[in-house]
């Protein structure tokens, strides 16, 4: 995966939406301090916006009164928080040991051939972002991957072609 240095150039927060604010406020009831809500807020914003932009970071920072640096240290740590735009569907591809034994490397190459993307890349039409993920905990049905919230098991090249076609047709 390529290492991208995040250069924050935003100077202005974007306004949080009413839906985002209401969900963040709900989380504030569940934790004794605002810092604990920071990661929740990042996830909420990502759910609505697809990713967490610099403008969103500033907005959360202002709303929760948490320094941007603190938020950034969390945002860049957790692999399911996206600090760069991602495609419409994120493929979380398990490349841990059981999937490796069952041949996931070949499937990675297949996706690379078919979609023109390797780990960290988004397809040109922005339909898919392809990223590796630690063991998805479904090892008896390896190889596995997630697309969005859906888990796909016992993968083969043919199955992957079908899955990709299905998501494309959904659009």
């Amino acid at each position: 995966m390529s290492t991208n240095i995040i250069a924050s150039t935003a100077t202005k927060a974007r306004p949080l939406t009413a839906a985002e604010i209401s969900e963040i406020e709900h989380e504030m009831e569940l934790y004794p301090d605002k810092q604990a809500v920071g990661l929740e807020a990042l996830k909420i914003v990502q759910k609505h916006q697809g990713w967490v932009s610099d403008e969103s970071m500033l907005a959360i920072s202002k709303f929760l009164d948490i320094p941007v640096a603190d938020l950034e240290s969390v945002a860049t740590f957790f692999n399911l928080v996206y600090r760069q735009p991602v495609g419409k569907n994120v493929i979380l591809f398990c490349n841990s040991v059981s999937c490796w034994i069952m041949g996931c490397d070949g499937l990675r190459s297949h996706i690379n051939d078919q979609l023109g993307v390797d780990f960290g890349d988004t397809t040109e039409d922005e339909a898919f972002t392809f990223i590796p993920v630690p063991c998805l905990g479904d090892c008896d049905r390896a190889p596995v991957m997630m697309v969005g919230d859906d888990l796909h098991r016992n993968l083969t090249e043919e199955k992957i072609d079908q899955i990709v076609a299905d998501y494309r047709n959904k659009e």
Partner: protein
Amino acid sequence: MVNKPLTKNIDMSRPPLDIAAFEAADGYQSVKAIAAGLSPADVLQLVKDSGLKGRGGAGFPTGLKWSFVPQGDNAPKQKYFVVNADEMEPGTFKDRLLMEGDPHLLLEGMIVGSYTIQASVAYIFLRGEYKASENALKQAISEAYEKGYLGKNILGTGFNLDIILHTSAGRYICGEETALLNALEGKRANPRAKPPFPQVSGLWGKPTIVNNVETVCNLPGILTYGVDWYHGLTKGNDHGTKLFGISGRVKTPGCWELPLGITIREIIEEYGGGMRDGYELRAFLPGGGSTDFMLPEHLDLPFDYDEVAKVGSRLATGTMILLDDKTCPVGMIGNLMKFFAHESCGFCTPCRDGLPWVDEIFNEFESGRGTEKDLQILHEHVDYLGPGRTFCALAPGATAPLGSGLKIFAEDFERHIKEQRCPYKH
């Protein structure tokens, strides 16, 4: 007589039992037993007597862990009970089954654990990718509140408990209990120094117990059916049943609840259906990616904590990863090293810098450029990254398959060097 207390309600071909069906299957009986007069000290004694050991990997006695939580008038009033549902150990897929298959059992266990240490708030720290578990737990939590098993004054006991489902955002290190607490507090998930242990100073500085999902799911049965029944479940020296799993090239990979002490051969042959045609068992990791390799000569050992420890490995999560004779052991270990290098939190130097170095060397072996010097560096790292050298158990965990693999597969490493290629690639 119930002999599979963890999975008796699980049938993955249908949705999990709702609260009414769960109650009809002896569900929430342990909470009723508490309401009928069991004190926290009574429950603690039962759990100690049961001999239950933590099912997350370390195998620490659960009752003993709980007993470190300060009690009495001088103890902090706020305490927390946290379930570690951040299942991410490579090759481990047991907690998913419990949460997707029978979410109420976990909640019932959480009420028991929280009551024992007198925690009024309990968190489930669930990995973000487990969407089906999240949905099942959300539904179950709302049903449990409706029925009065959660909330204020549960079943007239005067005990209050709120359960909060926290979905995380990745990173293997969150499974380490102090890193988990930092993540729950909204911080970067670096592990904390111990002592103080979380039992004394954990979440937001308050006494906190962190238990694995499977551990917690053992609790309802111990209260409902009794300690004698629990002791009768096992075939070995450790008590209770355990979820055992197999992944790799067997005919029917899967996860099953079986008595501790069953032989490894029986699990692989009876339940896993044996190796697929054309494949032979070469070696296996007994309990996830952080355990030492075991060999076919160990197949007739009873699978429990002590017996596995005697041959230098760990039962850990009990989910075995099988290496067959057609798969490169150097490649398999290399895959694990890549995982650990990627998942190092970066806090301490040996782990942050050592694991990527090890990973790079495996890349060299993979591409046929490995040398004797490289091999020597790998051997050195087994020590440099071993127990006592690092801040937490992540890197020492990595040295388990590395150190044992270097010994067992010495010939394979040598062949990579001599032939300047991976001999398993055609």
